[in-house]
């Protein structure tokens, strides 16, 4: 980053007089007297010979296996059959009142017969809470960890949409599946609000017994469209 540096923020006096940032930075510099003045951060070696991916075999199969490991449901379908399959999934969960984020492809919901809640203008948390579920696209899938990644791009909606309703149906295309975490992180767009979802909400706080569904959606269905 060699562009123009942002202006130093104006520092106000802290609780103890002098601006707190100045005091803390001075303490850090004094604590680091052992670090040579001409040492740059890059001079501290970081060995990055860890592997980019631990995945073996077909990564889409692995993705399905690992998502199911987290007790989420995966439905595999071809492009042609996707609208019918999505309608079947929604009907199967009794969805009559579906939250649909802006930019979600109409074609995928062609066979769905219930009513749609648009998030434009934004729904209130209470309206989201009262809905039967939400359907979104995803930014990526991660095979090794069975993760779906949402980054609020078109068809994914703002973060609250995939959080408050009790059912989340997420449409992932097989071409979006990354093999492992390093590969996925490199494809992220920093700056976007990003959520990694690995299975439904879960807790093990009571005697280490796993319970699914505390605050996030209790049911996660991943519709995986091949091709």
């Amino acid at each position: 980053m060699s562009e123009a540096k942002p202006a130093e923020p104006v520092r106000e006096e802290g609780l103890y007089g002098e601006p707190s940032a100045n005091r803390i930075l001075a303490r850090i510099r004094s604590a680091l007297r052992d670090v040579p003045n001409d040492e740059r951060p890059e001079d501290v070696e970081v060995t990055r010979d860890y592997v980019d991916s631990h995945a073996v075999g077909d990564i889409v199969d692995l993705f399905v296996e690992r998502v199911e490991d987290y007790r989420a449901t995966v439905v595999r379908v071809g492009e042609q059959d996707a609208p019918a399959e999505i309608a079947r999934v929604l009907a199967g969960h009794g969805v009559a009142n579906l939250v649909v984020p802006p930019g979600f492809p109409d074609a995928l919901l062609a066979r769905y017969e219930g009513s749609r809640l648009s998030d434009d203008p934004p729904l209130t948390p209470a309206e989201l809470d009262a809905s039967d579920g939400v359907i979104t696209l995803a930014a990526q899938g991660i095979a090794l960890t069975g993760t779906i990644v949402l980054d609020a791009d078109a068809g994914q909606g703002r973060r609250a949409l995939s959080l408050v309703p009790d059912l989340h149906v997420c449409v992932v295309r097989s071409s979006q599946v990354a093999a492992d975490v390093p590969v996925a992180v490199r494809a992220l767009v920093p700056g976007r609000p990003t959520t990694f979802i690995s299975g439904p909400s879960a807790t093990s706080d009571i005697e280490l017994d796993r319970v699914e569904g505390v605050h996030g959606p209790r049911t996660l269905v991943v519709v995986l469209i091949s091709g």
């Binding site: 803390i24 951060p41 501290v44 990055r48 690992r66 700056g191 605050h215």
Partner: protein
């Protein structure tokens, strides 16, 4: 000492030796702990074994942290600039008191009297909830275990599963007794099934999430180059707090900064497998400043020192700041497994607590802090388990020496006197021979009637051990005789 004068909140338990002694008498606690630590330990080994480059990842994690620590000022300034550019506001807090003041002022400026909280070690360390309570602000913990602990006016005993010392029927009783006092009560017919308990928590908290104006979180990491802050969690309570309120206040220890966004590729592999022993935790949230139309429209990041710069100044103790709060070291520690987290007296229990807490507080400032480096067998299991290779055993030895140095001058402690005596005896063959003869007689006298205990200050030592009966004859005496044959 008033709350304002300490930077790390002590949990009100006595110093480690006394607290551990009491904990050892509690069979239920020991059973709960053994079950918990054994389960997580085994699961973690399996999760780690899946990655054949684990050691390489650990090394990278440790080197990245090393780079951060050696250039912390640079990275913090860079983080401040990136967060500011993304629409956030950065505050700096030298100690607990200053951090609490900033939070309290921000919440009051919003006109809010209640806040929802994500489980955060940094806010526990500074006792934030109690401070907000003094200012008329009710802070609700939304992590299930933290909620259990908070409702029971209890103290956490584990970094990852803070209510691990409570079993299901205790939790049901707490919910039935306390929930109604703070919002939606628990149903009358609440059973002790974990599923039913989790549902009660869901209903109790959902009402709070939907109306909360302000949320407070910690941070697992913050990337200096992009200003992206991250929180990993399981339940979705974190996402609720990070997404629904209008204002988000994040309190982050200054050591949590990472050089770059791409370093997440290392830590998102190391952290979940080390802490919950999963391939990935259910939810990871990353946000950068504020995003119009999505989530809180006001974001404050408080960079907390609170003893960290003091820790940084000790080159041998510095790497305690590498800690990513995964709690793997707790689950492999034979001392933690038997004494539980509350014996350590601070919110950081187990091996990492034994090195981090005394450094944050300062060696030689309290009996609590000074007792912690001795709460270990130095077996080394914590070093093997640590995903960022913190050499805890070596640091414990280093801190023990500092404790001893801090107590030089003034009246010597009984151990110091005993050691001085030992040096005198071992220093001369004649004196040693005399001592051996005396010991043999004394031992036999003490052994009369089967009593295998020592009197006086040594009584404590024999409280849990038998004194070995000394040989009738010393080795030297035997050698002299044997040599004549």
């Amino acid at each position: 000492m008033s709350r304002d004068e300490v930077n790390v909140v002590w949990l009100g338990s006595p110093t480690f030796p006394k607290a551990a002694h009491d904990a050892l008498q509690d069979d239920q606690l020991r059973r709960n702990l053994k079950h918990a630590t054994t389960t997580i330990r085994d699961k973690r080994l399996r999760a780690v074994a899946e990655l054949d480059d684990w050691e390489t990842l650990r090394l990278a994690g440790s080197q990245i942290k090393d780079r951060v620590m050696r250039h912390l000022d640079t990275y913090l300034l860079q983080l401040e600039a990136s967060v500011t550019a993304a629409g956030g506001v950065v505050h700096w807090a030298e100690d607990a008191r200053e951090a609490k003041q900033i939070v309290s002022d921000l919440v009051r400026a919003m006109g809010a009297t209640e806040v929802v909280k994500i489980k955060s070690m940094a806010t526990q360390e500074i006792g934030l909830n109690e401070e907000l309570d003094d200012d008329g602000i009710e802070a609700t913990e939304t992590d299930l275990a933290e909620l259990i602990v908070q409702l029971n006016h209890d103290r956490p005993s584990h970094i990852l599963v803070p209510a691990i010392h409570r079993n299901r029927s205790e939790i049901r009783d707490i919910f039935r007794r306390e929930m109604g006092k703070h919002g939606v009560p628990a149903p009358d017919d609440l059973t002790d099934e974990p599923r039913a308990l989790a549902e009660a928590a869901r209903v109790h908290l959902r009402e709070k999430f939907l109306r909360a104006k302000v949320a407070i979180s910690g941070a697992n990491f913050a990337c200096a180059d992009t200003g992206t802050v991250g929180v990993v969690e399981s339940e979705g309570n974190g996402r609720m707090c990070l997404t629904l309120p209008e204002t988000l206040i994040t309190v982050m220890g200054i050591e949590k900064v990472l050089p770059s966004f791409s370093d997440l590729e290392v830590f998102l592999q190391l952290l979940p497998r080390s802490s919950t022993a999963e391939r990935m935790n259910p939810y990871t949230s990353l946000w950068t400043g504020v995003t119009p139309g999505d989530g809180p429209q006001e974001f404050h990041l408080i960079l907390l020192d609170n003893g960290r710069t003091k820790t940084l100044a000790d080159t041998a103790g510095r790497s305690a700041l590498h800690c990513i709060r995964c709690s793997a070291c707790l689950n492999v520690c034979p001392v933690y497994e038997r004494t539980g987290g509350r014996s350590y007296g601070s919110v950081y229990p187990g091996p990492i607590g034994a090195v981090l807490t005394p450094q944050l507080v300062g060696i030689g400032t309290s009996d609590h802090a000074d007792s912690l480096p001795f709460a270990s067998t130095l077996c080394g299991a914590c070093y093997d388990a640590c995903p960022v290779r913190i050499d805890i055993p070596e640091m414990l030895v280093h801190l023990r020496a500092k404790v001893v140095d801090a107590h030089r001058g003034g009246l010597p402690k009984p151990e110091a006197l005993a050691m001085k005596g030992a040096r005198m005896v071992f220093g001369s063959p004649r004196r040693l021979a005399w001592a051996e003869r005396l010991g043999a007689i004394g031992g036999r006298v003490a052994g009369i009637g089967g009593g295998r205990w020592l009197p006086g200050p040594a009584k404590k030592w024999t409280g849990a051990r038998d004194v070995p009966v000394p040989a009738r004859e010393s080795f030297r005496a035997w050698w002299r005789k044997a040599g004549r044959r």
